[in-house]
């Protein structure tokens, strides 16, 4: 059974998302809405990460670790200047899509397994992942024209 592999992937991407929100909150303290919302959304991911633990334990004796390659690539460079915020939000959005896709895959397995608890966990977490992505997209749309056209 390869479900544990995907649970590991999910757990790992949720953890990366949590850390990335925290990182962006800290890095962009001068943008009050960014700092506070990223802290809140990081807390959401922390909670999601906690909720997945039960299923990791249930379906796998040993946790499968996925290297956090994705994050390294996404947040590799130390960005500066006005583009930094837009690019950081951009990368956060990509991470939410990774989490979302993991959930889509796991949900299919949950349906096959008739695992009601896992389905419920999906319903709760994935809806909030979507809301994280929605906020990021709203904020990206707002920042994009100013960043690309006017800011130096």
């Amino acid at each position: 059974m390869q479900l544990p592999h995907y649970l590991g992937l999910l757990e790992n991407s949720e953890k990366q998302l949590m850390e990335a929100f925290e990182y962006v909150a800290d890095k962009h303290k001068d943008e009050p809405d960014i700092e506070q919302m990223c802290q809140k959304l990081s807390a959401w991911s922390r909670e999601h990460h906690g909720r997945t633990q039960a299923f990791v334990a249930k379906y796998s004796e040993e946790k499968e670790d996925e290297p956090d390659k994705l994050k390294r690539e996404l947040f590799a460079k130390k960005r500066k200047g006005s583009l930094a915020l837009l690019r950081d939000l951009h990368d956060l959005w990509l991470l939410t899509q990774e989490v979302h896709l993991c959930w889509v895959v796991i949900r299919q397995a949950a349906l096959g397994l008739r695992d009601e608890d896992l389905k419920a966990c999906y319903e709760f977490c994935n809806a909030r992942t979507q809301r994280q992505a929605d906020w990021l997209l709203s904020r990206i749309k707002q920042a994009a024209p100013q960043t690309l056209l006017v800011a130096e």
């Binding site: 943008e31 809405d33 809140k40 006005s82 906020w135 707002q142 024209p145 100013q146 006017v150 800011a151």
Partner: protein, 767 residues
């Protein structure tokens, strides 16, 4: 000198107890006998009292209330009776100023406008119109906002335009949009004449809208007085009259309102039929509030469970109800979510759309409603939806432009973000009109550095020298109320005309003339090459008539109004059109709201994150005219008292002043009645810190510090209060502006800053 009453000593005057028809009482104060009277309305709060200006030899010599006006039935408050004196002040700005070699020097209008136009053109050429921002007011007239809206959105095409209304009533608009699909107060002041119960949440109405409070006091003094529920952490004048006064801890409005709704739902006091026919979202809301038992609310908010039950009993059993909310809700944590709970209360009980019941998501300023209606803030003219391509096309057709000229790729930039872009340098020209941000913005130390930046060109258009004009590159002297003709709309949808009574001093010009002149000099043209404003806009009446067309078919329909119709009688409520030629007292009488996908002003937000929804999202939830019941759970404030900063600070107003006192501080009577700032603290805290009345107290937050004389009592322990009016233009010997202490952060939906809480420490500084 003649005055019908001493409004300084007796703020609200004699009682005329009643139920049904509020008796007329004409308040008047004149310094000399006028030659003639000119019709106007008061601009010193959002109430919009009908008022005549007395003129003698080309000067204002007094005012009197208009008996015929539906808003005030002749009454005026202390600010209305005394504030006009400022028009005659020797301090008025009378000539344009240009900064040369670091100093502001007098210049001609031509020089000033040429400089502005040259700078604008350079910036547009080099950086696009998004390098230009506008920060306006809740004090201009609707013709001026509409001109400004067109200049910014059609002429330049910049998305960066907002008002100081963002600091004061953005949440009112946001909450109305969330619940009902568009801005616009559902009820009328006349609902107070018969209502069984009144709820004031975070709204010190006695100090804020003295004349509306007279109406409440008169009801309380008459037969069958209404029961009064007041939610406010301070023992204000308003709270003193309450049947039940709840004093929650700062930042706990949502738990308190959730608790009240929970009790009402539990008791079966809801109108199930109305909920089913006219709302969506009941089950989710029920689930959210179900957790908030009175005991849990008490634990978190400090409001005793028994008192919460008393309040809920009144609000759950009254057959009619008028509710109001203001800054205690709007400038606090979870602002929009808490304000929406007031709407929910009425929706759950079916208490709106009929006489005796109404909701006032209050405004603070006299013309804030027009800032929102006319597109001079983060909204589009006529309550149009920036996410609806058809609405953009309507505007483009009105202005004869290609729709893409009107910025609508994202919500119009909100004020705090405009300031942030200025701070970062991507907005390079900021045009401020009719407001004094260097006293009114939060975290003043940070705010003050922005206009001082070399790469930001700042234009300030005002009637008086202020803390903000001091840092401007160009200062334009503005004509004010009494010196120009225009219309404005009060918080209750009542439109008044204010006729020109006297000439402005020196070379001062109306905001309208300034914006139209800018448009002419910039040579803004429509797609057929005709001048955008100047070809058709000779007078403000032309602008008003153009505005009427812009509102046709929209909720704020002005098509039945004209200068002639507004002159001579009472103010008139919109919608005023063929169907409702005398205006309309109640919106949503049939329980059909403005939420239809083609009509709504917004596709909504995630209440918790503020993420904007688009048309496709809305298609899935289009309630087709039903109202939204929405709620969220409690979230603690971002800054809470700790060991280092152990007290809460909150801010608010005093009855005798308006905003940063640029006018009221120049009225001798008002200034003497409230000459200086102060810090109010509880007797318990005063004893603990060894502070007595009048002692000088140092108040320090993570952002800054102020020194204020102490005033002891009438406030909960752990909380201190400082009024927001006082800055430095008339007294610069100590730091005293409370916004030295406040936080830069805002509500995720309405983007209104959180002035109502900050963690501070205090100490006595004199022996």
């Amino acid at each position: 000198m003649k005055e019908t009453r001493d409004s300084i000593q007796d703020i609200w005057g004699q009682r005329t107890g009643y139920e049904g028809d509020w008796p007329v009482r004409v308040d008047e104060r004149i310094e000399e006998e006028p030659d003639h009277w000119v019709q106007s309305a008061c601009v010193l709060c959002s109430n919009g009292c009908g008022m005549d200006i007395g003129v003698k030899d080309g000067r204002i010599v007094g005012v009197r209330g208009r008996a015929v006006d539906s808003v005030n039935h002749g009454r005026l408050g202390p600010k209305g009776l005394h504030g006009w004196v400022a028009n005659n002040s020797q301090d008025r700005l009378t000539r344009p100023l240009i900064r040369r070699n670091g100093k502001l020097e007098e210049a001609s209008w031509n020089e000033a406008m040429d400089l502005i136009v040259q700078k604008s053109k350079e910036l547009v050429e080099k950086h696009t119109a998004s390098s230009i921002g506008f920060y306006t007011s809740g004090q201009l007239f609707l013709e001026e906002y509409y001109a400004l809206g067109i200049v910014g959105k059609a002429g330049l095409g910049t998305p960066h335009m907002d008002g100081n209304t963002r600091l004061c009533t953005a949440t009112a608009a946001a909450a109305l949009k969330v619940s009902f699909g568009s801005d616009g107060q559902p009820g009328s002041y006349s609902d107070l004449d018969t209502t069984e119960a009144i709820l004031h949440v975070g709204h010190n109405i006695a100090s804020q809208q003295t004349v509306l409070w007279m109406r409440v006091l008169d009801r309380l003094a008459g037969p069958n007085p209404p029961k009064l529920v007041v939610i406010d952490p301070r023992a204000t004048y308003t709270a003193e009259k309450a049947t039940v006064h709840l004093a929650p801890r700062v930042g706990t409005n949502v738990p308190v309102m959730n608790g009240i709704l929970n009790l009402i739902i539990q008791a079966g006091q809801i109108n199930q039929e109305y909920i089913e026919a006219h709302t969506v979202g009941f089950e989710e809301l029920k689930q959210i509030v179900a957790k908030w038992t009175p005991e849990r609310v008490e634990h978190l908010s400090g409001v005793p469970a028994a008192k919460l039950r008393e309040a809920a009993h009144i609000l759950g059993t009254c057959k009619t109800l008028v509710s109001t909310a203001l800054q205690g809700v709007y400038q606090s944590m979870q602002a929009t979510a808490a304000a929406v709970q007031v709407n929910n209360l009425h929706l759950l009980r079916g208490l709106l759309g009929h006489p005796g019941s109404g909701i006032y998501q209050m405004n603070g300023q006299p013309t804030a409603q027009n800032t929102r209606e006319c597109g001079a803030d983060g909204d589009l003219p006529g309550f149009r939806n920036w996410g609806n391509e058809d609405h953009i096309k309507e505007l483009a057709a009105l202005w004869n432009l290609h729709p893409d000229q009107i910025p609508h790729w994202a919500p119009p930039t909100h004020a705090m973000q405009i300031w942030r872009y200025c701070e970062q340098g991507s907005i390079k020209l900021l045009w401020i009109s009719g407001t004094n941000p260097l006293v009114s913005l939060p975290d003043l130390d940070r705010a003050r550095k922005i206009p001082a930046k070399e790469d930001l060109f700042v234009i300030v258009q005002d009637a008086f020298p202020t803390e903000t004009t001091a840092l401007a590159d160009v200062v334009l002297p503005a004509a004010i109320w009494g010196e120009k003709t225009g219309c404005f709309t009060n918080v209750g949808r009542t439109v008044h005309i204010s006729h020109k009574a006297i000439d402005p001093p020196g070379e001062a010009r109306s905001d309208f003339d300034i914006f139209v002149d800018y448009s002419r000099r910039m040579d803004f043209r429509d797609q057929d090459g005709n001048s955008l404003l100047t070809s058709t806009w000779q007078t403000t009446e032309d602008a008003f008539n153009a505005w009427r067309e812009c509102t046709r078919g929209r909720p704020c329909d002005y098509t039945g109004l004209s200068y002639a119709k507004l002159t001579g009688g009472s103010g008139i409520q919109w919608p005023c059109n063929e169907q409702y030629p005398d205006g309309k007292k109640h919106l949503y009488e049939d329980g059909v709201f403005n939420t239809n996908i083609d009509y709504c002003e917004t596709y909504g937000h995630d209440l918790e994150t503020g993420a904007a929804r688009n048309q496709d999202d809305y298609k899935l939830i289009d309630p087709k005219g039903k109202a939204f019941l929405k709620g969220i759970d409690y979230e603690p404030p971002h800054e809470v008292p700790d060991k280092q900063y152990p007290l809460w600070l909150t801010t608010g107003r005093v009855v005798f002043h308006f905003h940063t006192r640029t006018k009221t501080g120049r009225s001798k009577a008002l200034q003497e009645a409230a000459p200086d700032s102060y810090v109010q603290l509880s007797t318990e805290d005063a004893a603990c810190y060894g502070i007595a009345d009048g002692d000088m107290v140092e108040v320090v937050s993570r952002r800054g510090k102020v020194l204020e004389p102490a005033r002891v009592g009438d406030i909960e322990p752990g909380l201190i209060f400082i009024p927001f009016h006082y800055g430095y233009w008339d007294k610069a010997d100590r730091p005293r502006a409370v916004n030295e202490l406040t936080l830069t952060e805002w509500d995720p939906v309405s983007k209104q800053p959180h002035y109502k809480y900050a963690a501070v420490h205090i100490r006595k500084v004199n022996a």
